[in-house]
Symmetry: D3
Subunit: 326 residues, 6 copies
């Protein structure tokens, strides 16, 4: 039995070495990544049994995703697509360096997961888990994924599985208006929300500072708890009427992709390990701390996925400040 179940798309990620361009020749580093499996892998680093629901092409690329996620400690529970149209979503990542931005080229349209149906997925996993988590990327992919998201949230709700959601707005997937509509369909069925401040203000139209946004969002959607994330400014949580603020750890950056997912995975991982998923000011504060440390460690690692251990995360929190351990 798993503690955490996530649902979403995981893609093949292809990237030329830092300092080189996609346009020019050479090998591409190939990894797999997707917000929801990233969260599951990060939670696993903290000791949580995590599974990931999705649909994959029944070909070597689909199997590559399964192999990679299993390696990261995640149990894939996938529907296999053996249709002629089966394909794995792909994205190309080009690392930036100021003043040139990191650039992502998506090639994910019509991937197998965009045809997913709730009937293909193992909903028992959701019912038996403590927490179900997905993000705003998933309903943005297709009508089918939007419907499956809705169905799985419903299944979780019936089973008293805590429903966790990260807004995670992607401008290359949907417009502001589409996203606003999508969020409004989902949010009434969410218990725990992760809301990047920018998404809450720009897409959902909440005014004010992070605290005001948090209070209003919690009230509007009757949330058990929510965490507003603000990049370098740290995070602000709201639970049981209390506000909890947390900073960030040193942010030397090897690869920024997946930092937000490591934050959520670290949060959920600690919440499940130490508090069985109970949301209290105390548990949320501690989860925020682990989340911040997990995010900081993720930034130092190439790839979408946090590779770490509870011991390492805690040594970051304890901040002993040695440079070399030998």
């Amino acid at each position: 039995m798993v503690d955490l179940v996530t649902f979403g798309e995981t893609m093949l990620r292809l990237s030329p070495p830092a300092g080189t361009r996609l346009e020019t020749g050479g090998d591409l580093a190939a990894q797999v990544g997707g917000a929801e499996s990233n969260v599951a892998a990060a939670a696993d680093c903290l000791g949580v049994d995590a599974a990931w629901l999705s649909k994959l092409p029944d070909n070597p690329l689909g199997r590559r995703v399964v192999r990679a996620l299993r390696g990261h400690g995640v149990t894939p529970a996938v529907a296999w697509d053996d249709s002629d149209a089966a394909r794995l979503g792909t994205y190309y990542l080009e690392y930036g360096a100021a003043p040139r931005d990191t650039n992502v080229v998506y090639d994910r349209a019509r991937s197998s997961v965009t045809t997913v149906d709730i009937a293909e997925l193992d909903t028992d996993l959701v019912a038996d888990a403590e927490i179900f988590h997905t993000t705003g990327i998933t309903p943005a992919l297709s009508d089918a994924t939007a419907e499956a998201t809705s169905d799985l949230l419903a299944a979780a709700g019936e089973a008293d599985t805590l429903r966790s959601f990260d807004l995670n707005y992607r401008s290359k997937l949907w417009s502001h208006d589409e996203a606003a509509d999508g969020y409004e369909a989902v949010l009434p069925h969410v218990d725990l929300l992760f809301a990047p401040y920018r998404d809450a203000s720009v897409i959902l139209g909440y005014d004010g500072d992070a605290e005001e946004v948090a209070r209003e969002l919690a009230e509007d959607y009757d949330l058990d708890a929510l965490v507003v994330t603000r990049g370098a400014d740290g995070s602000l949580a709201f639970v049981d009427g209390e506000i909890i603020e947390e900073g960030i750890y040193s942010d030397e950056t090897v690869d920024a992709i997946g930092t937000g997912d490591a934050f959520v995975g670290g949060f959920l991982g600690e919440l499940l390990t130490s508090d069985d998923g109970d949301l209290t000011p105390e548990s949320v504060g501690r989860a925020q701390t682990y989340a911040a440390a997990a995010a900081a460690v993720k930034r130092t690692i190439e790839g979408d996925v946090l590779v770490s251990t509870r011991g390492e995360i805690e040594s970051v929190i304890d901040a002993d400040g040695d440079d070399i351990s030998r």
Copy 2:
């Protein structure tokens, strides 16, 4: 002004190192390849000015194709697709070793070229060239590419540009019946045909040995010349009522992909260089010799594309047999 114009799709080719699997992790070698641009690049090695018509996504991957082909001496004349759905066709190549076959996983559906329209293409290039060449892959991609193929053959016909075609059957693109229909639409508008023996017999239903197949095909479609290719058994040409046979050169194999395209490119390259495209038993025989040598050299090179020079091809033909030149 270019001598040879080809039309078709060029894809990003991604392959793990020989002896490793797509399923497992690690970098992927990334190159570009497509039958028709492969032909143009091979012809360039023999000194021909060659251009390639196609449609590409207006993104770094599309520009990567342009950069790579320019590097191979080919002039890309492309329509840029800046739509949201723009994508580059991709294929994954896993090298085999007996008893495990080399495996290709296509991810090319709905690529930008599948939406091409004749109005987007520089038809003047075709009209001004000596030879226009495409293959059976192109009409198999979509209705739009089938139509554009037909339109370009018509344009070539009007301009007295020699129309060259390679059957090049791909089972992952269309069924036997679809292919037969497709070929029958194209063949009446072809002057010079390259017909793999297996495609002629299995798809088009021609019985008999290579010579019989050649004679019948030439008659049925009123071809100026045709070359039946038979893998390790060499090729057989039919022109002006004469049969010309040619063997193969030593076939040490580094990468078999693109061998047939190097054959055609070597053929057309020599035909254009030494005979301005005139099809006579003498010119065809010499072109077959260059074609065989170009194919043999291609097999020794990683990637879809022949990288060589006229001097090297001729030294293979002259077969001096030294092992190391120093």
Copy 3:
């Protein structure tokens, strides 16, 4: 619940590129490998749920083994060694080319698994499985591993789990006499034996051809079935009084290490999938065929471990002989 449980040591394998030497500089390819986990991974390729019992250092290298095996579809059930002396066994592999042999340098003495105790291992897994498998390498490692091997075979015997064993003699681990003693302690508790012909004759002193050796071994140790393997000469099985011979598939070799393990894993994988582990002339014959194909595919892959699918193994058996599938 798993179908197959194996027990043994898995090491970090470090190898310079083919054609280069350990003595000179440069990167080392790093993988994990060990006979018993190799068997589990090969069985997984055929669709079997397989677990692997062992003891590993509680450090990044031990976790690397777990990650790698999970990636290969194997469920690691390990005791973690957090003592100061904890270490992962290592081996260095230098690929040969005639007349230079492939060379293995072991650095595995006193690895964590050499201190394993049955009390640390999940014996329920063994009791619940259909087959328990280990090899002659394991008891050769230390007194503790010899004792654990004996204990696990006893546990399997009590639970009616089929006990499978591969002689797998390693001259760098024990002398002929030590091995003979070790085998004689184990063999009375084995149901299914894999015996390289050379080990049976040189170490155990059986005379005669493979059939004679098979009949005598089966009688001496009251085996349900046994398979004598003879390298390029294929294998010979003896079950229910019947002799079944099987050849080998084409053996183009990328990496010979692990071929024997893929044979055993293919055998057990097919036996479990199609026959629930029942040993009959029919099931053994079919298992031998899958074993031979799995071994042939393994030879084409870098690393100790078979990476394949049931579909691919069956396509090798069906031998369609195409070179490229596209």
Copy 4:
């Protein structure tokens, strides 16, 4: 017809990975680079048709330069040297890190271009272009290149092609006195000058700040316009009696080699695209802006050559400040 023609030497550039030394073993990254082809490639990024005149050995290394430059969008118009002494200039680059300088080891003496003769070059290209550009490196290479530089400037002058020149002093090629003599031979035939402040003061002996140097240089050599570059202090242009200053963009540095060439290429590229090469305070100011952005983007890319697009350069100028675009 091309807009911009440059003339100079392009070398093979060989460099060990950052953090390693030329003295120790290992692979060398191999690229091609030369100030004048770097300028052409940078201009191509902004949409200009650019050609490059030079002389290359008729061997695989010479062809490597042609392939690479064509890939960068530049049209090579080269004289092929098939003499026994033909060789490609080479340079070895070792990346520094404070307090260790980046080090260049030249092996370019007697390269094929040092024997170039105007009769071998396609002077029509120069006559038909809007701008002809070369740098102080070229006349420093040999008497023959000095003479060809002079001849090409004359040809450009006769054809009313704008003559652009970058002082680009290299201490490993000539002494201060030799350089001063060389510059004085060239400058009377230049219309647009790029003058690193340090070269103008140290080699040409101009006193005062950048503005004073600019005014005096312009007067002494009757220049249409000139740009004094000052590294991190930005650039200062003088045209039609007006002074225009421009800063730099953020300068995160992956590879500083070629930054100055990207500046010039960005300047000429924008000047040609938006203003047909007309030098006015307005056009020069805009060109300086593009030049600064092109230089900043170049610093983030490994290799001598800018790989970018007009769109990217303009997004840097518009400075939207996002970190990741997805």
Copy 5:
């Protein structure tokens, strides 16, 4: 005849690329490193003939160490261990990035050097040298290495070879108490001491600032000279009653491992080259300057070992501040 002889263990060092983890797959960069051979190699960069005493397994890994050190200019004088238990010490290095520390996993227990006996070593080398150097790592390895350290210091003392020692505390090798005992056995036989401030205070219990520690240590152990090192705060030497302070050079860091050894090697290298090993305020001050520059250059180089030249070290000291030399 060599000027400097060092004694200690050199290991195989295996490290994944920066930004990746030991836990996950991929190649490992393999080098050799050990504090005492690092010192010898750094001294060689300054022109000193240096030898290194040790014991190595008689296998490809032992030969790899010899090849690598010879490449670094060091003369290995090793006892070869051909016992069954022979092994090379190994360490795994994972580069950190804040807030994640660089991590070292040792696998060096029971390596061949831990069985070394003075009778196996070429003590004439020590007697003929100007300086003998070892570090606190060596006696920490085993009783045998502690005894050999003591024996070699005695041999050096008898021959009037200057005895140099670096405390170099490693918490993974011995406890504070063990180290304190070990140091106290060695220090009475030392002439020149390198004492990291932290080791002197934490392990040896010296209070006060660096100057106080230096004065007390010198008095307690009757040292000719000592250098207290303080990381980013530079070093403080005490000789002939004088205190000499030296800062650090810019510390851009590619690889911090071995920085302290380069400091000592630079110190001893300059001391031997310019002053034949005589310890005076003047010679020590100059040696400190070279030491600081050598350490700064080492930080910019991947691997344990300084690769440089006297010329480069002096150009750092002269600090000309150019960025690129071409």
Copy 6:
């Protein structure tokens, strides 16, 4: 004191991966190689102290050669060229595959060694050695190297050092006639000759089979012994009136470059180790055997240089025929 001294040029060798072309992009593997240092390194593998005389540029590339050769066990005794014209000879190697030959592009003209003068070299080394060896490549490089060759042979002759010479004809360095003249100047001063059959017949004009050529050469130049090498047909030696024939070992080929040098190095290495350089039918026969084995092992290794041990060479001679040693 060294046993063997060789004299010649060692170059930087740059090669793209097998299956790729010099013309196209990508990293180049960089090693060092030269016939005479290759011989010294091969002799070192058999336990001989070997030195190499030459002249190198005083720059990182020259130091790279010294580091690499020291790593291979050879003691470089070089004159350092600090002139402006100093350069290291370079060669580019492109691996072939039938029907495409392996190709070497030399860029070695005017390298530092071509200016060598006997006064710069340590002639005492030659006088003190047992054997002095050089090849026909050296006098072909320049008048200066021809003169130094002559001077060193004279010095060896005076000191009763055995003078060994390998014809080693290179068509890219001199014509047939130049080579014939060069050989005739050298051969009267040679004691032991290695003569590729083809060089003896084509360049020196000897008719007949290998035995006839051997007898005539020995008589014409009063040789103590000579070995005629015939590629796959093995070698034939003539000494004391006796003919000794030796075949070849299995020749799986990874890299054929340097095979002849390993033959000579293996010959000289065994001759020096077991017979102090005495030339008798018995010693020559044994040396031929070691030579053949050394050559066969070299073919399996990437790079110019044999990396092996006496133990390995003898295990090849003893031919135990195991495939994997573990």
